[in-house]
Amino acid sequence: MAAKLKGWKEIPEAGTIVEPGNARNYKTGGWRSDRPVWNKETCIHCFFCWIWCPDMAVQVDQANKKMTGINLEYCKGCGVCAEVCPKKCFTMKNEKELTNE
């Protein structure tokens, strides 16, 4: 992601950012030390995890109204989803241990 820094003639004036929502290109998943591991089987698709996830990292299938998983590119591993889930669908697992597994 270390994009080449641009010169003053190459960027829009006044510090204006002309590409809306381009923070999507900034992946915050690397911040995570614990990963929410989702148990699909117990999920009742209440969307509590979706409404409260501060990073918009809970993925849903809008047409079928289903929770479909976690976007690990952005999930910071806060564990809010695990706390608010009425069915305890998430286990927070340490990233290091997961890589070792």
């Binding site: 999507r24 911040w31 509590f48 979706w50 409260w52 918009m56 590119e73 910071k76 564990g79």
Partner: protein, 307 residues
């Protein structure tokens, strides 16, 4: 009409992933719930603060809608200018959409340094919504005391110490100050109560005139709670009556939530590291005083709501 989460899917687009607020931050929850409460296009301004800096670190922006920041103390004035420019464009036929105008400020930018600009904007009656994401301190710069910091909480500028209990006095009642602008819709809500918050946000957007919503948005880092506990701690604030949910419209106050049995304030205090010192022996009178104040304030709201 109540919101159903399944009908909102796909609407969480105004603030995008890739922002750099702390894990478990309450502010993006507030932003998400508020912005999903309208179908109209939004133009947004933010006061300087956590939300502003963490969502727009050049060359990145997490805003998928027109957005501007200029300073700390002026979100009220900025939103006045934005909305008035819209009226001018509309008059000239340069825009045909019904745009909604939304300002965000933290408690520092709203209770303290931005109060005058907010009051001016409310008094003038512009058609906008101002949302204070209240995390009870200057958290962006490392937990300094604000007028919203509650009594007994330790902050870096009024820390607990041998001769200090942390903040010595009660927080300012900003929601009632906003309500004192009688042309405004004023409400208090919490990120823990998404239905309540979204309904109020919807009302605020539909209200013809100024609207103010004070939203409790925990700062897990400086309240010293685990990052997973954001929603739980906010809920506890409501259930202890520390943070009553209410709204004032046309000078009528409605209490939106009355716990059957309110939880004792010690539950709220015990759960947060910023109150840790209050649990030491000898500080019981402080806790008693906080409890008394919480109960007195709730009684006051009950009286106002039943008149």
């Amino acid at each position: 009409m109540a919101f159903l989460l399944k009908d909102l899917l796909g609407k969480d687009k105004i603030l995008t992933s890739g922002h750099r607020l702390c894990p478990g931050c309450g502010a993006p929850m507030a932003v998400k719930m508020v912005t999903m409460a309208t179908d109209n296009p939004l133009i947004i301004t933010s006061a300087t603060g956590c939300l502003e800096v963490s969502t727009t670190i050049y060359p990145f922006t997490a805003w998928d809608t027109p957005w501007v920041h200029s300073a700390f103390e002026n979100a009220g004035a900025t939103i006045s200018g934005l909305q008035t420019a819209f009226l001018a464009w509309k008059k000239k036929g340069k825009i045909d959409k019904e745009v909604k105008f939304l300002a965000f400020g933290g408690d520092g930018g709203t209770y303290d340094i931005g109060l005058q600009a907010l009051s001016g904007a409310l008094e003038r009656g512009h058609d906008f919504v101002y949302v204070c994401y209240d995390n009870q301190g200057y958290m962006n710069t490392g937990a300094q005391r604000s007028a919203s910091t509650p009594m007994g909480a330790s902050t870096t500028t009024e820390p607990a110490g041998k001769k200090s209990i942390g903040k010595r006095i009660q927080r300012k009642d900003l929601t009632m100050i906003a309500a004192a602008h009688h042309n405004a819709y004023a409400a208090q809500s919490s990120i823990s109560h998404w239905q309540d918050l979204m309904s109020k946000a919807k009302k605020a957007f539909e209200y013809e005139g100024p609207a103010f919503i004070n939203v409790l948005s925990p700062c897990v880092r400086f309240w010293r709670v685990p990052s997973s506990k954001t929603v739980e701690i906010a809920k506890l604030a409501v259930e202890t009556n520390f943070w009553p949910l209410f709204e004032i419209e046309n000078m009528k106050l409605t209490l939106n939530f009355k716990p059957k049995e309110r939880k004792p304030i010690i539950d709220w205090i015990k759960a947060q590291g910023r109150y840790k010192h209050l649990l030491q022996a000898g500080n019981e009178p402080v806790i008693d005083e906080i409890q008394k104040e919480v109960d007195a304030y709730f009684d006051y709201l009950v009286r106002l709501s039943s008149i």
